[in-house]
């Protein structure tokens, strides 16, 4: 599998990353190196072997249904670019 410049441009746009045109080629090369390595891993025969998620815990910790968090509007809004009436304010988005 090999990525071309156009595919990299599309991935960047999906990730909301602004990649200048002159860097697309370089980035395609780097991504292809990573994909090449994964291709190499895929050579291992894993037929009939269940995916292993972890070497230690196998049962996820579950949370009891109790309210233990929240109630700190100031903290939540601390990094907001703009705020009014305890709400984040962003440029208008209407689909």
């Amino acid at each position: 599998m090999s990525l071309d410049k156009e595919t990299v441009r599309k991935i960047a746009s999906l990730a909301r990353l602004k990649v200048p045109d002159e860097e697309l080629e370089t980035m395609a090369g780097e991504l292809n190196n990573i994909l090449g390595w994964i291709e190499q891993l895929r050579e291992v025969d894993t037929e009939g072997i269940a995916p292993m998620t972890s070497v230690t815990v196998t049962v996820p910790a579950l949370r009891a249904d109790r309210v233990t968090d929240g109630g700190y509007v100031d903290l939540v809004l601390a990094n907001a670019p703009e705020e009014v009436a305890n709400s984040f304010v962003v440029p208008k988005v209407i689909e």
Partner: protein, 484 residues
């Protein structure tokens, strides 16, 4: 079939599949300990997990899992003992993570089916494709400022169950009946309050049209329908739009559309170039969810009697008609109310009072049955007074109106107003005789063969007794005396 649509070039069939987003009733969110209560101050119920601060990790709420499994079981669907949370990647200001944690290839609930009762009395099976757990997004408010959008993250991270049907519905009516049935089941088992106004239950409808018997057409998805009325309108409008496009020689592109209730039309939400590419992948912060047989069995044991079973029981145990039974079981509060009234009494009489008289008044005032001014026990007392002939059915209507207004008991109203039925033969005979004596010409008419006059005489006597005379006795005595 009557559900086919008429176009200019022939008949068309609609095909509808529905996605229902149902908010799970829980104190805390799917992956955080922040509260879920409706109507709180903006951003007051947001944890740093919900705000997606770097380094914060999700921990699954056990109640969300319990409710998803209970709901899957109540929808007669397969529980997957192994399921996986996945990231659905997209950008929107009310989604601070930049992805929604959902389930993709391995949802917690797989295929199943439910039965819906159509208005013509038929039962239709609708198959369930899957049910998965996912996070709700925050709320965007576009109408607060001319150039800005306000974001409240209180809803961000609240547990949703997405219930996906197969494309089994063939009319807007069937879609509405299906949603109503699912909502009824969710409310029975108390996994979702079903409140469409507050957004606890919302629908996306996938609509396509085809010539009867043809392959499936291309579908359009109509997003975020938050009332049954809009669901019905949006489906009907969308189907007609598609038929017009195709009959004019056009093609339907697969797209997402929004319903505008003011204009009564759907419009494209985003074009194909902007179409989302969600790039799902398993969430590395969350282990797969493995459920034991014991857990699933315990969830099954925790379910109450479900609407279908309860309906059959009302028919077999109480002798109700299938129609009356289906009306009563639609809401759990209603059928609980009915069973309290019917217990140890004439069940059909009880059903008539609950469906005609109680529902009639409750609907008129928009009161839910849980807040009825006449409690089940009180209605039972009224029915007892009819059964033991203390009052007639006619007088009982007035007593019931009084109970509904004042909240007083039936027996007290009957005593206070002196409404006790007259069953004394002597008294009734005298009243009948008086009416007959006052109308000799009508008596002659009757004896000449005008049998219908009995009704008129009945009316006169009942009026003379202010409705209190026992109607059966009046009828009997009247025929006896008038015939001479």
């Amino acid at each position: 079939m009557s559900d086919l649509l008429k176009g200019n070039t022939g008949e068309w069939e609609m095909v509808i599949g529905l996605e229902i987003h149902a908010q799970v009733i829980s104190n805390a969110k799917l992956f955080s300990g922040a509260a879920t209560a409706f109507g709180a101050e903006p951003n007051s119920q947001v944890s740093l997990v919900d705000a997606a601060m770097p380094g914060m990790l999700p921990v699954l709420n056990e109640e969300s899992v319990r409710q998803a499994v209970r709901t899957g079981l109540a929808l007669n669907s397969k529980i997957n003992h192994h399921s996986v949370f996945a990231r659905k990647n997209y950008f929107y200001p009310d989604l601070p993570q930049g992805y929604q944690i959902s389930q993709y290839e391995l949802p917690v609930v797989g295929e199943g089916k439910i039965e819906i009762d159509l208005p013509n009395g038929d039962i239709k099976v609708v198959e369930i494709e899957r049910l998965h757990l996912e996070q709700d997004a925050g709320k965007s408010m576009h109408d607060q400022h001319p150039t800005k959008t306000y974001i409240d993250l209180n809803r961000s991270g609240v547990t949703l169950m997405e219930i996906v049907s197969k494309p089994d519905m063939r009319s807007a009516e069937e879609a509405v009946v299906y949603v109503t049935k699912v909502r009824s089941i969710l409310r029975y088992i108390e996994s979702c309050d079903g409140n469409m106004q507050e957004g606890s239950l919302r629908c996306d409808a996938n609509v396509s049209v085809r010539r009867p018997g043809d392959e499936l057409g291309t579908r359009c998805e109509i997003k975020n329908l938050n009332s049954l009325r809009f669901l019905r309108q949006a489906i009907d409008h969308e189907a007609m739009r598609q038929i017009e496009v195709i009959e004019d020689g056009g093609l339907i592109p697969q797209e997402t559309r929004l319903y505008d209730p003011d204009k009564g039309e759907t419009r494209s939400m985003r074009s194909k170039e902007e179409a989302y590419d969600y790039r799902y992948f398993p969430d590395p912060d969350l282990l797969p969810l493995d459920l034991s047989e014991d857990f699933v069995a315990a969830m099954k044991a925790s379910l109450p009697e479900l609407p279908d079973v309860r309906k059959s029981r009302l028919v077999s145990e109480f002798g109700l008609s299938a129609y009356d039974a289906s009306v009563l079981v639609a809401e759990r509060e209603t059928v609980d109310y009915f069973e309290t009234v019917a217990n140890g009494r004439d069940a059909k009489l009880a059903a008539n009072w609950v469906i005609s008289d109680l529902f009639g008044r409750l609907n008129k005032t928009g009161t839910p049955v849980s807040q009825s001014p006449v409690k089940a026990e009180a209605l039972g007392e009224l029915i007892d007074l009819i059964s033991d002939q203390t009052i007639s059915g006619r007088i009982a209507k007035d007593v019931f109106a009084d109970m509904f207004e004042t909240g007083k008991g039936a027996a007290a109203i009957v005593e206070d107003k002196g409404l006790r039925q007259v069953t004394d033969t002597g008294t009734i005979r005298a009243q009948v005789q008086a009416v007959i004596d006052a109308n000799p010409d009508k008596v002659v008419d009757y004896r000449a063969g005008n049998q219908k006059l009995v009704g008129w005489f009945m009316g006169q006597v009942m009026q003379a007794s202010q409705g209190k005379a026992n109607p059966a006795m009046v009828n009997q005595l009247l025929k006896e005396i008038i015939s001479g």
